[in-house]
Subunit: 456 residues, 2 copies
Amino acid sequence: MGHDAFTALKRGSATGLPTSTTTTTTTTTRGRTTATRGKQIKKTFNNLKLTILCGFVTILVLRGTVGIGGLTGSPDADVNAQKIAEETNRILAEIRSDDEPSDPNEPPEPDINPNVTYTLGPKISNWDYERKSWLAKNPEFPSHINGKARVLLVTGSPPKPCDNPIGDHYLLKSIKNKIDYCRIHGIEIVYNLAHLDKELAGYWAKLPLIRRLMLSHPEVEWIWWLDSDALFTDMVFEIPLWKYNNHNLVIHGYPDLLFDQKSWIALNTGSFLFRNCQWSLDLLDAWAPMGPKGPIRDEAGKILTANLKGRPAFEADDQSALIYLLISKKDEWMDKVFVENSYYLHGYWAGLVDRYEEMMEKYHPGLGDERWPFVTHFVGCKPCGSYGDYAVERCLRSMERAFNFADNQVLRLYGFRHRGLLSPKIKRIRNETTTPLEFVDRFDIRHSTRGGQSGL
Amino acid sequence: MGHDAFTALKRGSATGLPTSTTTTTTTTTRGRTTATRGKQIKKTFNNLKLTILCGFVTILVLRGTVGIGGLTGSPDADVNAQKIAEETNRILAEIRSDDEPSDPNEPPEPDINPNVTYTLGPKISNWDYERKSWLAKNPEFPSHINGKARVLLVTGSPPKPCDNPIGDHYLLKSIKNKIDYCRIHGIEIVYNLAHLDKELAGYWAKLPLIRRLMLSHPEVEWIWWLDSDALFTDMVFEIPLWKYNNHNLVIHGYPDLLFDQKSWIALNTGSFLFRNCQWSLDLLDAWAPMGPKGPIRDEAGKILTANLKGRPAFEADDQSALIYLLISKKDEWMDKVFVENSYYLHGYWAGLVDRYEEMMEKYHPGLGDERWPFVTHFVGCKPCGSYGDYAVERCLRSMERAFNFADNQVLRLYGFRHRGLLSPKIKRIRNETTTPLEFVDRFDIRHSTRGGQSGL
């Protein structure tokens, strides 16, 4: 099923997999002796692409160099440059390579026994009580501040440099975008660059991470997972947490797609919130068993494909597994799950990025829905991987547009905006004055949100 | 003086320029018709290096590809790969290029008149009063929270992808490191990716940015500039703001180097704090006039080189200009400047990165000085530029070590550490338990710092 898995994974991402994490899979599996043939083919394609890419860049840049009045560099400069290039490549190769000397004191990787259900860790059964008493003992770490629940936004990317060099630049822009939103709305951020669990690599990595953060941050009420390829595009909108007082999982999706059609894209696991409570730990435990890499994940994939509408044949992914769990154990879980679609907690990019100009003309930030999407999620783009389901150019352009569309909302306070949605350059939108505070009162989103609507 | 300026700029950064921002200069000036010959030579060298780098990567990756059981890809895969590569290059070129259609509504760039002193904006003279009354009117945005002054950490990097592809990966690791420190210590972050002022490009860009942030964030008491190539390496240490109650600028340096030797590296402008007050606005105004690109900056550079010990001949940089201002107008400014060297507000990397193992053996975080440096600053490395003063390999290794050294202090709460200071991989340092909260009380830095020493 190797080749099926490869092509399926490809088509799969086109229709709803969290891509940043899919990329992680690629990274993790690179160089593994246990790699399936499908993975090997994929890896070969990736390397091939990187090869050709670099060839082109070489020509491109060489043309540029010759363009600038010939090669003015002296011979030693050439030598010097060559030395630096060699060194950079050595380090690049070393950092990318997987063959680090593993610590001798370290226990060998446990072999997963397919007959024993995989668990995220020792069963914790009294978390609500433990957490409550901890909060009582630590009043300086309240779970609510001025009546607002404490939220921790969690995102991340592979530990190693992207296969596609420009990928890291967009990861940087993506976290800058999240830093801005979270500063404005008083949300803390954890950016993960590590693989906590070898078995749950790839798009499954978020499960052990979320569990770990719940247990290490009892002061946090909500843990919000957001893929690295999702950008905030409404800097004013705030999640209406009051709506979810009786729920423990908030995820974007459509109940009819979920229960009537059993569609494998009924929910999107690129952006969801878990309440820090026993129920969430239990759901994570029920969700995880299909995750372990290798035979378990491969076999589980067949079950998911057989039961979910539209799902191509490939290894089990976290999104399909959650959908399958909620469908098959509806009575057990659904009363605490809020399937949200009144705003774009996850907004599929393809339908949104071309409408930004129209939105700016007709509407204003703070709406969060199709009029001004809260989150634009670049499902299927894989900027960090060297393989994408969409034309790379369209993805990069669209991400640049989304970033600048959002950044304009941030720059407004400072009196600037981007020259265009495709331009990293900015321009003034008002002159400097001797009375700058009037603009703070008018344009600081934190003030305007308090006043309800923003006028942005 | 073109060639002088180039070689000088190179030597210069080797001995103390904020390199990330130096890189910005390179980026900004690329393709400018007004570029001096020195800049052109530099640009040509950079392109040449990128060319050769890509050549090597091509060979490197091609070898890797062939290594994996030959080219298993089908013909259409090749075509597909080639198409993607072409697209990526087009976008890369477009995003890097400077030739965006400038907005017709936009006023033309003002020509700087050398006879008129450059200013950062209209003179603001009553900021202390204005800010004070604003704070009184907006009690929900206090400048102090639980007695702690509100601090805004400001950093940034060029708007465009790095010339050296791995540079963006280290910018990502650098901001992840800052996100961790600032989450733990309740500091807000602004990450700047834009050029606010065309004239003050490069290492001067921080001046208009800091002024703008003071005026847009009256609730912020201290604005802390930190270069993108500086990493927090003591996640426990906190700046002793109480020491600076009577000061408005805190900067790392040595008074004897400053006033006795008039050394151009007496202070380092890679990490410093400004109080949000009239005095700081005035100092920025007095600091800025040497900044405008072109003849003014070039001429000012000659004055600085003539007056500062050890300064090579090159255009005026923000660090030399500040040193020169404080030396020549000591009585006017110094009583409000705190020259700090009791801990590493800026720590020069070369002397520190090889001692991390020794530090871990002998000391613990929270000291902030040579025993456990608060900040490790990679002066002269320019990971984002394609040119560095130190061997690229040594820089990348050292940055990787510094990042992991710091990350171990963060991962401890979660029960992990890096396999080695050069490894992006992590390993467990304790088993999962059913009573995780005991570890929160023991290892959450925010708890330990309250209790004074950390025991980390």
